[in-house]
Symmetry: C2
Subunit: 682 residues, 2 copies
């Protein structure tokens, strides 16, 4: 292990590094919670990145061309918070002292878009940052290729831990990054040999160098230089010089360094060191042992100056941008403004197609048609699938595939990598300038849950095309047929979920997704569904609307979503023939409907009328809106989609019968309790 | 590419291989759906495995010591079905003709425990089989070490595709298998260079040999021998001879071979070839081009004989087993009977501890105490966490860690590999003899969704310990605080979900999990909760029961789950002081309660009484049981757990106030619609 004097650092830099280590001990101690060890170990690395390497302006944390920094092991965030405070992002020492307290700017893990400037992405769930970095890198390369290096040209630095690298998402993301040859990605592996359960060796013997070489990365084992500022800087600069491959640097570090008791000890990972050990460690570091949160003015000044240098770089960029756009490429200026800050060229929504009753097509196909209708005028769109690009409607007409040969290509081939696709989309959205669209079968949203939740928590504007959205997909069978997934996604806070009934609703859904500030999931059919009367001006924005009136005072209300709306329309006709006034409500989005006022909700649902929901999925949650549900509360079946749907009761005849049964139940006065069972197998 | 004559095969073997290829074309063609290409390409490999390598008895598909076969790219299942038919598992040619039709034994992907003998694990969602194989291998090694090679000693063969290897779960599983040194695992990589979107090269440039070397596997690139029976057999046998490492064999194959039009074409992946092309290909193969499902008797006889050889091996094993148990180790016999077919020694349930009111401990701690109380008498238990073993209550007292040095160890260190943990647990359960328990934070159930769903679909008896089950976990904040996860798991068909209120309920929950035939999720607290009066004989088996009576005709019913039950008990006292009779219902399990008859449900919920649910999670779904919910319909907050719970309304005072408000609302006659909003921030 190195001595506590950081090699290759001035006295002032040494002091700064040790002050960072002091904060890394003090803040978790005060919070009685937190992770001091990694932050202590990586203080020299943070120092080098923020004072010698990275290009950033603390006064303009969202400067488009800043270098991006990702701390994938987000539990070490006291390190990041300390740097944001020291370099002048507006975070104060009081914020550091408020570490891990409610409503502070310094929560237990870094949260993007939650009031802490300088946090690019939310990390904590391990491995996400590995994928986010790839998304940041792809976004940068696309924009650099499109607008030139005067407009965009930065690096993305990602610290990864052994936990991140054990997670499967790291494999998916790193494999794709190597394939794409993202030269401006620099990953630094904090190789501390420690996990929560003990030494990494109890569960991990991978050779990380060989592994990343297998992915096509530039790899360098930096070895025992975690406390050598000059060697760290030189190693990172060597990686920055490699333009055709992402770089993976392994850094042997010592968690908890230089605590005598906890260096290289797994207890330094997740627990405060304790006052006594902190005092002893501060003595070793030459910090006043009785002081807490001790930051001398000269250290603040040093880092503020580093930040101020970035301000100059930012001003130079702005001047260069003005000159660039004043030149022959001036048409770019407007495009750049839309790309960076807007959605599409004026009137982009008008390009969305409409369809007429009589046509019949899958909503994955109509969503794709809508996407292609606007792709030219919504420059931020980058679209693709997890090896299901054609199948999921995410293929752009004549689009160029994003790869080494076409670094501006906006057709993604994510490969069979759903989880990384989600994390990469989050990174793209976090970068700015890109609106990522990613598709897979709805069932495989299971594989991306970890990233999808962070889309929602971080309010990233990403759009999921989840297709093959019910047993209607057919023969692939139960392993591929979603049942509980609508409930899963509807239960996720902050995720907009839209299941369009037909082509017109799917175009509206795409528009809503593009106009939203956060993530949207479009739930789309594999099978063709008819275009319905009344959807061309349907109020998808309100989440639910009356498609078939059924009179002012209908006998029964049928709520359908997606492919089941057309079944409800046909069922209503059968009921009408039997003298029953049935209203049909199309409810593409619970969350949008939930946001409406009571009057509108009552207007649509007709308060007092019995309500039957019809959705080829779990009934879970439907008791909120409906008195009974035609639903599927078991796994699916391998067979032709129409046969399976019919067997499970999704026919006009069965729906009409179920509506009649609900009415009979009420007439018999037996509706004193809610019958939640779905009837199937009829 | 090789010629159509399979090298190193007799004429009869050649005929058999080509008949398999014929079935691989005919069945998808008849179903108008399915994946012929891979099955055609791998016919020689299947032939070699089933006729020259594997040890199995078709008449006894569950023979404990059979070799295990996993087809991770489950879409190629017509290959597996053909072998099961030919070797005599009871599958008929009519079953093959019924491929992908409803209720057939030959669904679109292989489904374990759904009536198709010989299917070890359910595959289809890519990558799962990679992890299942590791679980099968661990189970075999533990049992071999415990009972000796006379009782257990078989191989596990897993075919993996490029899609499987792109998935992150493959990284997690392979990394752990390399660490563990599972010598009896043989993986064969079907390297066909084709994915759904096109050639693999559009998204994948990994060096698989280097990658698996990095994991510590024995690796051999078999190259262009996919149509050479002798070379295939020799390559597999070389891998079988490597005892200290799992083996990874890469096999360059040609999807759709030998179809002139579709060989090496991605269209052969997911679509029938068409009648014309099938005829042409049959001619090339020397099969009668006009015949469908053509299987000459001598081919059936050939494979039935191969199966019959396995029957002799099985009989020899049975005789050896009898001799083994008759010897000095005869005590093993009873242990083996319990291990293979039972739960625990007689009276194992009686060893479960009980706790008394006044004690206070986290349910993760009481679940751990319950686990350790019975671990000695329930021999199947193998337990561990995804780098959170101590944190999740899955540590066994004095248990030995499963690794190379202690191959019988039943303390798993899964590493930070949640998804693989789930897939490995499924494999262990599928093997038989092992009851796997795996723990992680509840939030990271997101990372394992893909495997959890297959636990449920395949009815694998696995037990999840998901801890840190609410915002009560505290400072780690929103990235670590589950909100929607109870809804997610409750909505999943076939998954038993139990959230115990205290120590006594947690012991009962573990007992129920062990007695269940399928998967059970225990949802456990990080924070200490009081032991409650009445839980020691609480009816956890019925899903919900009355904990505080509140009179025959209570004014209001408070339903709590988990850590919120004690809050309800205190709230009931406050209400009582105000003259309100409040019943408290503990509802640890929705699915168990749902299985009760109406009378019991009415008895517990008191039909007619207003019901308030109290659960520190999303209200999603609660409208089924309750009129209003104290819930959290947004993301959490980083701060001390008790502060966050209080801020979100989980205090006796707020719950009592909300109950009173519900009663007032009814008194005012304004209860004409369900108010689903949860109130928080009070």
């Amino acid at each position: 292990m190195s001595q506590t004097i950081t090699a290759g650092a001035t006295d002032l830099e040494q002091l700064g590094i040790n002050v960072i280590r002091g904060l890394a001990m003090d803040a978790p101690q005060k919070a009685n919670s937190g992770h001091p060890g990694t932050a202590m170990a990586l203080a020299p690395l943070a120092h080098v990145l923020w004072s010698r390497i990275m290009n950033y302006d603390p006064a303009e944390p969202t400067w488009p061309n800043r270098d991006r920094f990702v701390l994938s092991p987000g539990h070490a965030c006291i390190l990041q918070y300390s740097m944001l405070y020291l370099t002048g992002y507006g975070l104060t020492l009081d914020d550091i002292k408020a570490f891990r307290t409610p409503h502070s700017h310094t929560p237990g893990h870094p949260e993007a878009n939650h009031g802490t400037p300088g946090i690019e992405v939310t990390t904590g769930p391990l491995g996400q940052g590995v994928a986010n970095g790839v998304g940041l890198g792809i976004a940068e390369r696309i924009l650099r290729t499109r607008y030139g290096p005067e407009v965009m040209g930065h690096y993305t630095f990602v610290i990864v831990g052994d936990g991140c690298l054990m997670e499967g998402i790291s494999h998916e993301a790193a494999s794709l990054a190597g394939h794409l040859g993202l030269g401006r990605l620099i990953y630094i592996y904090d190789d501390n040999h420690i996990t929560i359960d003990g030494p990494t060796e109890i569960a991990l013997n991978d050779d990380p160098v060989k592994r990343f070489e297998a992915y096509g990365w530039h790899v360098e084992n930096l070895g025992e230089i975690s406390n050598d500022a000059e060697a760290l800087e030189a190693g990172i600069r060597r990686a920055m010089a490699v333009e055709d491959k992402p770089s993976f640097l392994t850094l042997r570090s010592h968690i908890g360094y230089p605590s005598p008791k906890f260096t290289d000890d797994h207890r330094a990972h997740g627990d405060p060191l304790g006052e006594d050990e902190i005092k002893i460690t501060k003595e070793i570091l030459g910090l006043p042992p009785e002081e807490h949160f001790w930051v001398p003015d000269e250290v603040v000044e040093f880092y503020r100056e580093a930040g101020a240098r970035g301000a100059e770089a930012r001003k130079a960029w702005e001047a260069g941008l003005a000159a660039h756009f004043a030149g022959p490429g001036s048409a770019d200026k407007q495009s750049w403004a839309i790309q960076w800050g807007g959605i599409g060229a004026d009137g982009w929504e008008a390009k969305l197609p409409t369809w007429s009753p009589g046509e019949k097509l899958a909503t994955r196909a109509s969503a794709n048609a809508a996407l292609n209708a606007i792709a030219d005028v919504v420059p931020g769109i980058v679209s693709g699938g997890a090896d299901l690009t054609g199948n999921t409607g995410t293929r752009l007409n004549d689009a160029i595939r994003q790869d080494r040969e076409s670094p501006g290509g906006r057709q993604m081939a994510f490969g069979v990598r759903e989880h990384a696709m989600g994390g990469i989309m989050n990174g793209m959205a976090a970068h700015g300038g890109i609106i990522p669209i990613g598709g897979t079968f709805f069932i495989f949203s299971d594989y991306m849950r970890g990233s999808v939740r962070l889309s929602a928590l971080s309010e990233h504007k990403v759009i999921y095309f989840w297709t093959h959205d019910s047993v209607g997909l057919g023969q692939d069978g139960p392993t591929h047929q979603p049942i509980e997934h609508l409930a899963i996604m509807r239960a996720t806070p902050g995720l907009r979920v839209i299941r369009p009934a037909d082509a017109n609703e799917s175009a509206a859904a795409l528009r809503i997704a593009l106009e939203s500030d956060g993530p949207t999931a479009l739930i789309l059919t594999r099978q063709a569904v008819p275009v319905l009367e009344g959807t061309a001006d349907g109020e998808v924005d309100r989440g639910a609307y009356i498609l078939v009136e059924g009179g002012d005072d209908p006998d029964v209300v049928l709520i359908g979503t997606g492919s089941e709306v057309s079944v409800c329309v046909e069922a209503a006709k059968l009921l009408e023939a039997d003298g029953v006034r049935a209203r049909v409500v199309s409810m593409p989005s619970w969350d949008l409907f939930d946001a409406q006022d009571d009057d509108y909700q009552d207007l649509v649902l007709g308060p007092g009328s019995p309500v039957l929901s019809v959705e080829a999925a779990s009934s879970f949650g439907w008791s909120r809106w409906a008195d009974d549900s035609v639903a599927i509360d078991h796994f699916g079946l391998s067979g032709p989609g129409d046969e399976v749907l019919a067997e499970f009761g999704f026919t006009p005849e069965n729906v009409a019968g179920r509506a009649q049964a609900l009415l009979d139940e009420i007439d018999n006065g037996s509706d004193d309790e809610f019958d939640s069972e779905s009837e199937d197998g009829v």
